[in-house]
């Protein structure tokens, strides 16, 4: 029997980046904010030396991530197939605990570009209305880059992003991204140091006529105080960013920059160990009345009434909670009708290895977003006429770590064990790096999320079922950009370059690719084709808002944190206004 608690003004589901940005905006206004986080605070051995540097514990055995025995996902590659549970979550790593994924992220902080938000309009206007495949369900977002630019600038200042601008108010700057949309200001911090791999990549890229620039990083290149007075220390290049909490307080996260601003205020509460089962939905009134959750510390179930609910949990959790709560019409891939679960996308990632007999790459001196990148083959930066696909990838020498359990590239043909294998490890560990092609993932009619009919979580609720495989468009795109990455690797003068291995289906749950899952509660101008409005307000419940990459109609070639944060900051402004005068925004 659930206990009903006192009503709270704003209840945010998920204690990650969205919650941190929204609480930062609303709490100083006097608004009452309660954040429900399913995991624990982050204040233990995950952020203390020497235990923080434990590769096996945090990275390989995924100590900071959602535990599969409590909740996982099922996967099928196409509608009509049997879905099977991912009994180990390896291909992507949902966060767990305060900070969510933004506690264990790399820190790559991009802005999505002008054409990303108007992708269908843009492609149809450039290539003709019939150019897009019928099953490519890409949509416009209903928001423009110009509207989001101030929020990107604000986020970069809050998180102390290190980088090199390419376009400040229309003025092109050498050394930055020539394809960058305009930005109001330069990055708040200069780029991180360029590692050896970056120097090699840069020289090769220039030789081929490209314009390399440093990866934009939330790993602070020097000590920084943000406009809120919150501090970041300088990055130590320790190579324990992704899959780890930064013990040096140098990787921007909600834990160190956002929650400390509001924790302890009388009108803010961060309730951990609170696993939300569902939202309580009054269908007739088209309103949510609150959420039902279990306190994992006591096993008690609570009904938490709320004036406003924000879904700010992981992409897949946002969508699953909508489905479990019966809000909106589930997407049906046979008819194309319904919206909840629609346009689930991922990231199409591939790589090429480059091996140098006579260069010390020293991959262990690394940071989550360290290295050089080119943008010539990303998105629609090149003419796609006649290519048979749309989209692209950034191509980067990203030296994120040299943790040796998993980061030991070996040349093709190396045996998998024995004397020659040992010798190859000894020879190449310090002398190799990967060139990454980080590509778009465009929505496809078949790819979607729904509730699994057979499998349940530890609480007895249906798991989210992922129906996904790389669409033909993205497979062709990957073949194209991976060849470009291979050409670039060749141009470095590497002793050995591994063969181009573009991403292909079937989607393989055994290989980590990225945690850039997107879609499922997509935003848009039309309630027939989106779950939330362009203001992230549910079409089916006026007092319900959704924040996170689940609102992306499709995924760009960039890492998604920048636009997640920009949209969350804009949502903060919208909620400030909505709480004054609740209405359809």
């Amino acid at each position: 029997m659930a206990t009903t608690l006192k009503e709270r003004e704003v209840v945010i589901v998920g204690g990650g980046l969205s919650a941190g940005l929204l609480a930062r905006r609303l709490v100083p206004l006097g608004r009452d904010v309660l954040v429900l986080e399913r995991g624990a605070p982050r204040n233990g051995s995950e952020m203390q030396l020497p235990s923080q540097r434990d590769d096996l514990r945090w990275s390989i055995l995924r100590g900071l991530n959602q535990r599969e025995n409590v909740e996982t996902y099922t996967l099928r590659h196409a509608p009509g197939e049997d879905a099977l549970p991912m009994r180990q979550l390896i291909s992507f790593l949902p966060g767990f605990g305060v900070g969510g994924g933004a506690a264990h992220w790399n820190g790559l902080t991009w802005r999505f570009q002008t054409t990303d938000y108007v992708l269908r309009s843009h492609l149809e206007s450039r290539y003709g209305k019939g150019a897009l495949p019928a099953d490519m369900t890409v949509q416009d977002w209903g928001v423009t880059y110009d509207e989001l630019e101030p929020y990107y600038t604000q986020f970069e200042k809050l998180f102390g992003i290190s980088g090199k601008a390419g376009n400040v108010r229309g003025e092109k700057r050498d050394g930055g991204n020539p394809f960058e949309p305009w930005r109001a200001e330069d990055y708040p911090l200069p780029p991180l140091e360029t590692p050896e791999a970056g120097l090699i990549f840069k020289a090769a890229a220039k030789k081929l006529g490209y314009k390399p620039f440093p990866l934009p990083a939330a790993n602070a290149s020097r000590a920084y105080t943000n406009p809120d007075g919150m501090k970041l220390a300088a990055c130590q290049y320790c190579g324990h960013c992704e899959r780890f909490v930064c013990e040096a307080q140098a990787k921007a996260s909600p834990n160190i920059l956002l929650f400390p601003l509001v924790v302890g205020k009388p009108n803010f509460e961060l309730r951990t160990h609170a696993e939300v089962f569902h939202l309580n939905y009054d269908r007739a009134a088209k309103r949510v009345t609150g959420v039902t959750y279990i306190d994992a510390l006591t096993g008690e179930e609570f009904i938490q009434p709320a004036s406003v609910v924000v879904l700010g949990s992981y992409v897949l959790s946002n969508t699953r909670l909508m489905l479990l709560s019966g809000i909106g019409e589930p997407y049906d891939p046979r008819t194309g009708k319904g919206t909840v679960g629609k346009n689930y996308c991922y990231q199409t990632v591939s790589g090429v290895g480059a091996f140098f007999e006579d260069r010390y790459i020293n991959p262990f001196m690394a940071s989550g977003s360290l290295g050089m990148v080119i943008d010539e083959f990303n998105n629609d930066h090149f003419d796609h006429a006649g290519l048979g696909f749309f989209g692209g990838a950034y191509i980067a020498a990203a030296v994120t770590n040299g943790r040796p359990i998993a980061t030991r590239a070996l040349p093709p043909g190396t045996p998998r064990w024995g004397l020659a294998w040992k010798a190859a490890n000894a020879k190449w560990y310090l002398r190799s790096f990967g060139i990454l092609a980080h590509g778009t993932s465009y929505s496809h009619r078949n790819n979607h999320l729904d509730l699994d009919p057979d499998y349940r979580d530890a609480y007895g609720r249906p798991l989210a079922r992922i129906t996904f495989d790389f669409p033909e468009n993205d497979v062709k795109m990957s073949a194209h950009v991976t060849q470009k990455a291979h050409d670039l690797a060749k141009a470095t003068g590497a002793t050995i370059v591994s063969p181009a291995a573009p991403r292909r289906g079937p989607y393989d749950t055994r290989l980590y690719q990225t945690t850039h899952n997107t879609g499922g509660t997509i935003m848009g101008v039309d309630r027939a084709t989106s779950v939330v409005s362009t203001r992230l307000q549910s079409w089916d419940a006026q007092n319900l808002f959704v924040s996170g990459a689940s609102v992306f109609p499709q995924n760009s070639g960039y890492n998604p944190t920048g636009p997640v944060a920009a949209l969350a900051l804009r949502l903060g402004d919208d909620l400030a206004s909505y709480l004054e005068r609740p209405r359809v925004l």
Binding site: P50, D55, R67, D82, G97, E193, C235, Q236, T272, A423
Partner: protein
């Protein structure tokens, strides 16, 4: 293997490290579901002893230990770069991992129905990793005996090489389970982890694997070094430090 079932190398290690014999090792098996229910951060995946040079096995039988030692010695042979795989502690690491939270399937999703999926669905059996390791070891040993009339640990290096290639390549079909999936999905990752994880887990003794490849280990604070040693050998590549060194 002696009459009382202990291998001579085991006895040597036992005598050498009498104070840390297997009986004194705490057998820490994380409670299944306990961590899940409370949301607490996971503990280290294995028991930690007072010294990395631990003797004896917590969960492997004598036959399994003999198989595992032979396997890791074949995959990680002794040479001028480092000692053998069992001397490096890889078999100990595997034993401790299987006895601990990982091996007991602490976070493995283990609800049915169980179906045979595509390889891309990953592991789909109802066995814990420890049970799976043991079942696979028995199946591989039986297949080995049928082919060579000897155990894997009694094969010549050339025979071991051929057999392992056949196992990894799916060419050993006369087994009650998919030995290629077992080897590639469980054994090989454990082997790599045992070689390159921090020595507190029982493998990578004396940081020999880190030293072999030039990984300096901890504390990994390179704010100056990232420029100073850019493109140059880092001095600590030859002298890595581990968690124990910093504890």
């Amino acid at each position: 293997m002696s009459a009382d079932g202990t291998s001579s190398s085991d006895r040597r290690r036992f005598l050498k490290s009498a104070g840390v014999a297997s009986a004194s090792l705490p057998l820490l098996i994380a409670s299944q579901g306990g961590a899940a229910a409370t949301g607490e951060a996971p503990r280290p995946a294995v028991a930690q002893s007072s010294t990395a040079d631990t003797a004896g096995y917590q969960i492997l039988s004598l036959d399994e230990a003999a198989f595992t030692e032979a396997l890791v010695d074949h995959m990680w042979p002794k040479d001028e770069l480092s000692p053998s795989g069992s001397e490096l502690g890889i078999a100990t690491f595997i034993d401790r991992q299987l006895a601990g939270a990982f091996g007991q399937g602490d976070r493995l999703y283990s609800q049915g129905p169980f179906r045979k999926g595509k390889p891309q669905h990953g592991y789909q059996l109802p066995l814990t990793p420890a049970e799976y390791f043991k079942a696979g070891t028995a199946a591989a040993s039986a297949a080995c005996a049928r082919r060579f009339h000897r155990g894997f640990d009694k094969l010549t290096a050339a025979e071991r090489e051929q057999f392992l290639h056949d196992v990894a390549g799916g060419k050993v079909a006369d087994a009650p389970l998919d030995l290629a999936a077992w080897f590639n999905g469980l054994v090989y990752p454990l082997f790599e982890r045992g070689a390159f994880a921090d020595p507190i887990y029982g493998g990578n003794r004396d940081k020999a694997a880190w030293r072999m490849i030039g990984y300096p280990g901890l504390p990994a604070t390179y704010s100056q070094d990232v420029v100073r040693y850019r493109g140059k050998p880092h001095p600590r590549s030859a002298n890595p430090q581990s968690i124990l060194d910093l504890s």
